[in-house]
């Protein structure tokens, strides 16, 4: 039964009529009523009669069956005003209302901007805080870090000798002061739980060089450097608050470091702590006079006289250094050379930040690209809207709006969008900024100087303003002039500017190309860093970090005698080896991946006469090579039988064997336990192990000598050892058992830094990982923007060409032809973007060379896979509109137009 016709004719009987959709609605009602009646058991005729009765009632009421079409209330344009600024404010208000009516567009555009602004603000905050911001000390720009070399070689550990220090200190003409310092780790006891602290031992001159005034009390003086006066300490503000409740009465009381009492004389503000805020306390350091062959090594900084350059100071120091006493063998041990002294002076800020400067600059440039692509996205969206608003703009123009007026109005929209984006970006940055200290690796320089301060906020506002106006002008300028007649003649729905032929369309395609190019550059950078990180992770460091748990054990001289240490070590090894799942338990005086360490000079008797060598001695337990997975490349490693009663033996590393013995090290005699004791006894080298590297397999290696602790007369002379436990399964699960074993071995012992060897490696890789994660995040963001942009452009083109595509389909075009047509446009944009991006990447990635490992900036895998990845993204972005195009019903499209 055609109820629609029936109702229409019934209503028309009185010469009146109702809207089509009212009739359709009533017809639906009639149909449902008929079906219900039939379901109730009524016959077809009865059911029809009931419905007709209902239709009759509707007919009587036809006057009220009227739906008033509701149109969205037109927005009142602002009245013309005399003052141009007042007009602009009205434009802003108008723009704001317009944007509020298009929440989806507004959200998309402002979220993109907000993310871009937040990322830029955060990175600027870090870059500015680390590289640009003045140092916290009053004369920060006059501070220089001093480094000493002998015969061009840097010392094996620390940076400056007492010889060079004393030669310069008392007669310096270019500096206002020099200070020596070194870092130590001590156990603080007495107030609450014992705690391991990093402290700075420094000459009293450090405080005058830094112009650092104490918060409470006083700093120590030169007289305090001599220990006979009793130990004194200056606490950091943080430590004072945490352990002494910020009580001024703490002055004069004692703090116990490694069991020794230190009288508290003052408190230093955290921001003035040197070398950084991780230094929790300051104790006096005495630079010893030269006596005999000994050299004392430490770090040194100086304050330049005003007007003096760092190089002038370095020249003076080098000049005075020529007259230092000859300390022969010790100099060889420490520097590996007895050549001439040379001193360099580097501005403190540069010295602190040299490692991170290049990566930060690269990341900052990357985030700049990201902001541009985000702003380009807003401009592209605006252009699309400008195109669909051609009629509106044409009408405005027809009513007498000049092009300046139209530009101003379109610009107002960009300004509103930009402000929303900037404001939410700043809020987001503010929220994320608190995470910065957590996200940055612990050893990142100047973390304490990072604040979202006025400079950062001002920068962020200026940048968002500039970006908003520049990218707002593009659509405004493109949208300002319109062919009135054709725009008004077109039907309002036909999107213009979708194709590449119109000016607006061309601008959009250009923006898209730029976005693909930026995504390409960022992706290349991220891929290089990612591959570099993987290469670092899998680098052959000469040992196997998997499956090993490590813990540091500190047994300071003040609390432990060497004999007691020996007992503890022996008991611990027995206990740990007996634990289930443990295959090897061992200890070493120095872990392979801790940089620096002790060094010794010794004379080696060889067939070609005595030679003078420099090497790091290490005291280890027999199973150490197995526990670390180090490779024995010649001879043998230590065995449990290498005890005091057996012949003394030693193992050297490959660097030692090749540098000093042309590879034939086994069988050569070297002094036993040098630096520890028994200097007169000789040990035979019984094996050579492969070199172990700090982080990368191209890191420099140093000659090393290993001694078994069992052959050192029952005395363990090193105060700090690292325990190593190799186990089946996850080694981290043994942490509790290891801690318990350490506690049981000696109640006063605390195991520190209990972590797997793999975690230690990752800790060392924290910076490359951070760079990779950041650039990877930027690249991902850029790809999403480019993908969404491509999708929009192609969808738009499909909508604009639907009539053409419908005609083609009607004339017999296959789905594949239609898809080809649609995809071609997306592909053209993507390909040109990729080409531009690859060329730019070739130029830009060169700046990354210094922090890449295992890949070149022109890595072939990267430069092939990145374009492929972008093409996949393009294909995905084109797929949906292409499929829509093939599903167009030609009849419907052609009829609707």
């Amino acid at each position: 039964m055609d109820w629609k016709t029936k109702i229409a004719s019934a209503l028309a009987r009185d010469g009146r009529t109702a809207d089509d959709d009212v009739i359709e609605e009533l017809a639906h009602h009639a149909r449902a009523m008929y079906d219900a009646a039939r379901a109730d058991g009524a016959s077809g005729d009865e059911a029809e009669a009931r419905v007709c009765e209902q239709i009759e009632r509707w007919r009587r009421d036809v006057g009220r069956l009227r739906r008033t079409a509701r149109r969205p209330a037109a927005i009142e344009p602002p009245p013309a005003s005399q003052s141009s600024t007042a007009g602009f404010v009205q434009d802003l208000r108008y723009a704001f209302r317009l944007l509020r009516r298009q929440p989806r567009f507004t959200t998309l555009a402002s979220v993109t901007m907000a993310l871009g602004i937040a990322a830029t603000t955060l990175l600027f905050s870090v870059t500015y805080g680390v590289l640009i911001k003045p140092l916290p000390w009053p004369a920060g720009d006059r501070l220089v870090v001093l480094k000493e070399t002998r015969g061009g070689k840097p010392p094996r550990f620390n940076a400056f000798s007492n010889a060079a220090y004393l030669a310069w200190r008392d007669q310096a003409a270019t500096i206002d002061g020099i200070a020596a310092w070194s870092q130590q780790t001590v156990t603080l006891s007495g107030q609450g739980e014992p705690e391991r602290l990093r402290i700075t031992a420094a000459t009293a001159s450090l405080f005058t060089v830094l112009d650092a005034r104490p918060l409470v009390g006083a700093v120590f003086t030169q007289a305090d450097e001599v220990a006979s006066r009793g130990n004194v300490v200056v606490l950091s503000e943080g430590l004072w608050r945490e352990r002494f409740g910020a009580d001024p009465a703490a002055l004069g009381r004692a703090a116990h470091f490694d069991g020794q009492p230190y009288t508290i004389v003052g408190v230093l503000p955290d921001r003035l702590a040197y070398p950084d805020e991780r230094s929790r306390a300051f104790v006096p350091f005495h630079v010893p006079p030269i006596s005999g062959n000994s050299l004392s090594m430490f770090n040194a900084i100086a304050k330049l006289r005003s007007g003096v350059s760092a190089s002038q100071a370095a020249a003076e120091a080098t000049g005075r250094g020529r007259f230092v006493a000859d300390t022969g063998m010790t100099t060889m041990a420490i520097f590996g050379s007895t050549g001439a002294v040379a001193i360099s002076a580097t501005p403190l800020k540069d010295a602190l930040t040299s490692d991170v400067r290049q990566p930060l600059i690269v990341l900052f440039a990357a985030v700049g690209l990201l902001l541009i692509t985000a702003a380009g996205n807003v401009a592209g969206l605006q252009l699309a809207r400008a195109a669909s608003r051609r009629r509106e703009i044409a009408i405005r123009a027809a009513l007498g709006a000049g092009s300046a007026r139209v530009v101003r109005e379109l610009l107002a929209e960009s300004v509103v969008l930009g402000s929303i984006g900037a404001a939410s970006g700043l809020v987001l940055a503010w929220l994320l900024h608190r995470l910065v200290p957590v996200l940055l690796p612990a050893d990142f320089p100047r973390v304490g100087d990072l604040h979202l301060d006025a400079t950062v906020i001002a920068f962020s506002i200026v940048v968002s303003g500039v970006v908003t106006i520049v990218f707002g002008l593009i659509p405004a300028w493109r949208g300002r002039r319109i062919d009135l007649v054709s725009s008004l003649a077109e039907d309002g729905n036909a999107p213009a500017g979708g194709g590449a032929r119109s000016r607006v369309g061309r601008t959009r395609l250009a923006i898209m190309t730029g976005q693909v190019a930026i995504a390409c550059v960022l992706l290349v950078g991220a891929s290089l860093l990612g591959r570099s990180f993987v290469a670092l992770l899998t680098a052959d460091r000469g040992y196997d970090p998997s499956g090993v748990l490590t813990a540091r054990l500190s047994m300071p001289d003040s609390l432990f005698k060497p004999e007691r240490r020996y007992e503890i070590a022996q008991a611990l090894l027995e206990r740990l080896s007996a634990m289930p799942r443990v295959s090897d338990a061992a200890f070493t005086s120095e872990l392979p991946l801790t940089a620096g360490g002790s060094t010794a000079g010794l004379t080696l008797r060889t067939s070609s006469g005595p030679i003078f060598v420099q090497a790091s001695p290490r005291v280890v337990s027999p199973r150490v090579f197995a526990a670390l997975g180090m490779r024995v490349i010649a001879g043998r490693g230590f065995s449990a039988d290498d005890t005091q009663s057996a012949a003394p033996v030693a193992v050297v590393n490959r660097a030692f064997a090749t540098r000093y013995l042309q590879g034939a090290a086994v069988g050569v005699k070297i002094p036993m336990g040098l630096g520890y004791q028994d200097a007169g006894v000789e040990a035979e080298i019984v094996g050579v192990v492969d070199d172990v590297r700090y982080l990368a397999s191209n890191d420099a290696t140093h000659p090393e000598i290993y001694y078994s602790y069992q052959q050192l007369r029952g005395r363990l002379t090193v105060p700090v050892v690292t325990l190593l436990v190799r186990a089946q399964g996850d080694p981290a699960t043994l942490a509790g058992a290891l801690r318990a074993a350490v506690r049981d071995a000696d109640g006063t012992l605390v195991s520190e830094a209990v972590m797997t060897l793999e975690d230690r490696v990752l800790l060392g890789l924290a910076r490359p990982r951070l760079y990779m994660v950041l650039l990877g995040g930027f690249a991902a963001f850029a790809i999403v923007i480019a993908g969404v942009g491509l999708f929009a452009v192609v969808s738009y083109a499909v909508a604009g060409r639907s009539r053409e595509l419908a005609v083609r389909t009607a004339l017999g075009a296959q789905a594949s032809n239609i898809v080809g047509l649609v995809v071609r446009q997306g592909l053209t944009v993507a390909l040109s973007g990729i080409v531009v991006g690859l060329v730019a990447a070739m130029v830009l990635t060169r700046s990354m060379a210094t922090f890449l490992y295992g890949v070149t900036p022109y890595d072939a895998v990267t430069f092939v896979s990145v374009p492929l990845a972008l093409l996949v993204v393009t294909a995905i972005a084109c797929f949906v509109p292409a499929r829509r195009a093939t599903r167009l019903d030609p009849l419907r499209v052609l009829r609707s137009s």
Binding site: E24, E25, H29, A36, R64
Partner: protein, 114 residues
């Protein structure tokens, strides 16, 4: 006000209340509304389907409800109505008004509401 006028006003007011409360649960089409009013009032409220659509259109005009065409696969399109935020508010205040009205009547005339 004569009795006829009162009855007309009451009926008109109650129809609106009925429609709004039925749409509070979920969106429905016209026939559904007509059927539910019949079912739920157990035939007590004499309700003319003829006045349903004018009421719907009036409510729509007042922006208390919102109609939209819904097309489902294999079906002809139907017009569904749902409550707007303003409609929800009106429903609430109408409920209170009716409640007060009944309470008042009850106090004066001892009419017990069902």
């Amino acid at each position: 006000m004569g009795m006829d006028a009162l009855a007309r006003e009451l009926k008109r007011g109650s129809t609106e209340l009925l429609i709004l409360s039925l749409l509070e649960e979920r969106e429905r089409h016209g026939y559904d509304l007509a059927r539910l009013i019949g079912d739920r009032s157990r035939g007590v409220i004499s309700f003319h389907v003829a006045s349903l659509y004018p009421t719907l259109y009036r409510l729509e005009e007042k922006q208390l409800i919102e109609g939209r065409w819904v097309e489902k696969a294999g079906q002809r399109r139907r017009r569904y109505y749902r409550l707007t935020a303003a409609g929800r508010k009106t429903l609430k205040s109408q409920r209170t008004t009716w409640q007060n009205f009944f309470e008042g009547l009850n106090r004066v005339a001892r009419i017990t509401t069902a």
